[in-house]
């Protein structure tokens, strides 16, 4: 601009558009946040490749990273919807545990593959239903309702297993974890994760369900006065999160060949952290599936690199905490300038 600043002439045009340099407009179109996450992931891959060139870039290792990301990734997709709506689901880890042990009891395993899959999903949706009813129609705060679910689902999982690991004997389930089941080198778990991600992205960005989720999270009162059934939407969202937990539990059963009451420990923290790093607002009203998935991949890759470099899990935890803080600080900066 030749005249650096001139007062807005028209009162309706209060934020005059100061043209950005060309490279910045290009970046702005492509979403700075997502690009920076891709940049971080790329940097991690370079670090991994430099520190452990033989192990990290090995196909098997990459398959392992993606497989590990799949379980928490599916949970994170559900969590992203809940957070976008202004809610929170602290019970996801406990629901994964309960679904995984309920689906691997001796009685369930008699029904074979379908029995395990069906039970895991039903238990997940059932827990989500309880959460949703308590929050949407019981007027409970999501934090409290899902905290209660966390405690009771874990307790129930312990009661079912009595602390024992339940080995899966159904071949159809175990086979999915074998290398023979890989499709063009891609493990089936990763395919499920990819499908859940794509469906999640479409639902959030292209459907009325997604719009209502964003509206409820952005301004629940405005959504209500605009004629949206806010309570029903909230119920559906916790059902969706529960369903994702059920799917994740099934993936975990395939991965470990067993069901344990300690499964899914601290998944709630990992899922929330991944969603927040990805750019979903904890206060609701804005959510990004792409960002969440990148967040999950970043976390899983860090864990993998640390493990390959023989660093203990305590160091990993500290690094994760630092990354969460750094990501949120960077986002606040970009949010205030754009």
């Amino acid at each position: 601009m030749t005249q650096p600043v001139s007062p807005p002439r028209d009162s309706t045009d209060k934020v005059p558009q100061i043209p950005l340099p060309a490279w910045r407009t290009v970046l702005a179109r492509a979403d700075v946040r997502t690009l920076s996450l891709v940049g971080v992931l790329a940097a991690l891959i370079v670090i991994g490749g430099l520190t452990r060139p033989d192990e990290f870039l090995d196909t098997r290792n990459l398959q392992l990273v993606l497989t590990q990301a799949s379980v928490i990734g599916v949970v994170t997709v559900g969590m992203t919807f809940v957070i976008t709506s202004g809610g929170i689901d602290l019970s996801v880890g406990a629901i994964v545990a309960l679904a995984s042990v309920w689906a691997t009891t001796v009685a369930t395993q008699e029904y074979g593959f379908a029995g395990i899959l069906f039970t895991a999903m039903i238990v997940g949706v059932g827990c989500g239903l309880v959460n949703g009813l308590l929050i949407a129609y019981g007027g409970m705060v999501p934090f409290i309702a899902t905290l209660a679910m966390l405690a009771s689902a874990r307790g129930l999982a312990l009661q079912i297993t009595d602390g024992r690991t339940q080995i899966v004997t159904v071949d159809g389930v175990l086979d999915l974890g074998e290398r023979d089941a890989y499709v063009l080198g891609v493990p089936p778990l990763v395919i499920v994760f990819a499908i859940v991600t794509v469906i999640g992205w479409l639902v959030l960005n292209r459907t009325t369900f997604g719009r209502r989720t964003v509206a409820v999270g952005g301004n629940a009162e405005a959504a209500r006065l605009a004629g949206i059934d806010v309570r029903r939407q909230r119920l559906y969202l916790y059902l969706l999160s529960g369903l994702c937990c059920g799917i994740a539990a099934f993936l975990l059963i395939i991965l470990s060949g067993s069901g344990q009451n300690t499964n899914g420990n601290l998944y709630e923290l990992d899922a929330i952290a991944a969603a927040i790093i990805g750019g979903t607002l904890l206060t609701g009203g804005r959510g990004t599936i792409t960002g969440s998935v990148l967040g999950v991949l970043i976390f899983t890759t860090i864990t993998n690199i640390f493990a390959l470099n023989n660093l203990q899990s305590d160091v990993q935890q500290i690094a994760k905490g630092a990354i969460i803080v750094a990501a949120v600080l960077v986002q606040r900066r970009t949010a205030s300038t754009t």
């Binding site: 309706t12 209060k14 459907t207 209502r212 301004n219 405005a222 605009a226 004629g227």
Partner: protein, 522 residues
């Protein structure tokens, strides 16, 4: 009083935010003991200027002098130490603390680092409240339990609990009724008599005439006039300075102007609006909510604008929200085209063709993070979707058509709604209901936070929508707005309709009499 140098002088104050220059070399000089009024439209820079004065914003350039000495107001605490107190429009009180705790917040009396609770703080708070003429406010009560007017008094008591030399009041009368405004003015008078300077911000010119000494007018981040005599400057000149043109309120012509008929007594008045023909589209029968408003009857026909006039607390907004189903009535029913709505259901009301433009636009209507398109389409999503799948091109096209029809600016519905001015945000809300194809529009304070210049345009839009067959029910605390825009007016007092008449048979004084006396003066 005017000794040299002035208590406060600000010169060449400049402040930019990304993309906007909010202040562009503003000068302001305030003498001890005067009421200095700050006038300007929304976005003129008033808020930014008082935030600079309060130490909440740091100016990019310019000098602030306090009693002649240059000072830097690095933080709100620094400003407070000098004796500058600010009472913001959005009251900054902690609802879950008591009155006394709020008043002493940040400078609690302490002994060895521990906050002293109880008697001393309550006693000094009580003394302050008595000085403000509100001895009835209990220092031990929770602030959340007080009315808006009482909270304002607490906010003022907090300002006075410091050794204050200058008080900034940002639209203090906005939430007050006339008698409370009188009390406010008495307090302002007491303060100035003690030599305290008051910087007073208000949209209401008549208030500025009553209490102001001098006026500074801001426009587009510049002081276009400084230190005008508040009582002697003609209104026309002040308005011209604020807007850059010579209009105050311009109302569109009624289609019925020229005809005249007496108003009905019960609310279902005789036909007086020329274009409002046929059976009423909205009928309210005996609708009531305990403690808020008494059983109410009213009807609105297509093409008619019915106004509800009344003071704050007369139940206006509650009535609209109950009709809309956002509150559950304790008695009565709402009929749209003869069919009763399920009580207390917004969805039923929306489905039947009602639309509400609520009073608190940002809190109750807009999705501030979203684009104009999504704000407009949110109530009509089923029209652009099949099996839940949104046809985004159809959505954009429909939103664009609706916003164009209301000439919403900028003409680009993909911009975020938060970047729009107040008037255009209101148009976005109206576009939402236009797109939905609603038949009854409920407007609650439609021009709150809207520039003087943009109001006329909004009035014209509402009138045009009515002419096209919409039924409009309007609520406003600004009597001229109700009288100028509505065809028929219901005057409310304490939740009761005290008078119904065609708007052109009423004038502002008559309505104010009714509102305060409750009996139809003749």
């Amino acid at each position: 009083m005017a000794t040299e140098p002035p208590l406060l002088s600000m010169s060449g104050i400049t402040k930019s935010f990304p993309g906007v220059r909010a202040l562009d070399g503003v000068d302001l000089a305030v003498q001890a003991g005067e009421v200095h009024c700050l006038l300007g439209q929304n976005g003129a820079g008033k808020s930014t200027l008082i935030k600079v004065l309060a130490g909440a914003h740091q100016p990019d350039d310019g000098v602030i002098r306090w009693q002649g000495d240059p000072v830097t107001l690095r933080s709100p605490i620094a400003a407070m130490r000098l004796g500058i107190a600010t009472i913001y429009q959005e009251l900054d009180l902690v609802e879950h603390l008591s009155v006394a705790e709020n008043v002493h917040l940040g400078h609690e009396p302490t002994v060895a680092g521990f906050v002293v609770r109880g008697r001393a703080a309550r006693a000094s708070t009580g003394a302050l409240l008595r000085r403000l003429g509100h001895a009835e406010i209990e220092p031990a009560r929770l602030v959340g339990e007080l009315s808006a007017a009482q909270q304002q008094i607490v906010s003022m008591a907090r300002a006075l609990s410091h050794d204050v030399r200058l008080i900034v009041m940002d639209e203090p009368s906005a939430a007050l009724d006339p008698d409370e405004v009188d009390n406010l003015f008495r307090i302002v008078g007491d303060l100035t008599a003690d030599g305290v300077a008051v910087v007073y911000i208000s949209h209401r010119l008549e208030e500025i005439r009553r209490i102001g000494d001098r006026v500074t007018v801001l426009k587009d981040g510049r002081a276009v006039a400084g230190g005008l005599p508040a009582k002697a400057t003609p209104t026309r000149e002040v308005v011209a300075l604020m807007t850059g043109r010579n209009v105050e309120y311009v109302f569109p012509a009624r289609p019925s102007d020229g005809a005249a008929a007496p108003g009905g007594a019960g609310g279902t008045g005789a036909g007086d609006a020329g274009d409002a023909v046929g059976p009423p589209v909205l009928e309210v029968r005996g609708l009531a909510r305990d403690g808020e408003f008494a059983p109410l009857d009213l009807s609105v026909r297509p093409g008619e604008i019915v106004g509800l006039a009344g003071l704050v607390g007369s139940g206006r907004s509650e009535i609209l929200e109950t009709i809309y189903g956002a509150r559950k009535p304790t008695a009565g029913e709402v009929l749209v085209e003869g069919r009763a709505l399920r009580p207390g259901s917004v969805r039923a009301a929306v489905r039947a063709g009602l639309g509400l433009a609520p009073e608190e636009r940002k809190a109750q209507a807009l999705l501030m993070l979203e684009s104009v398109t999504r704000n407009v389409s949110v109530s009509s999503m089923s029209r652009f979707s099949r099996g839940g799948w949104i046809d985004r091109r159809a959505e954009r096209g429909a939103a664009r058509a609706a916003t164009r029809e209301l000439s919403l600016r900028p003409d680009n519905p993909s911009v975020p709604v938060r970047t729009l001015s107040g008037g255009n945000q209101q148009k976005a809300v109206l576009a939402r209901w236009l797109l939905r194809g609603c038949r009854v529009l409920l407007l609650d304070e439609p021009t709150r936070g809207v520039d003087v210049g943009a109001r006329a345009e909004l009035y014209a839009v509402v009138r045009r929508l009515a002419d096209e067959g919409l039924a409009v029910l309007l609520v406003s605390s600004e009597v001229p707005e109700v009288l100028g825009l509505a065809d028929r007016v219901l005057v409310l007092r304490e939740g009761r309709v005290v008078h119904t008449a065609p708007a052109r048979e009423l004038d502002e004084h008559r309505v104010l009499d009714l509102v305060m006396e409750g009996s139809p003066a003749s």
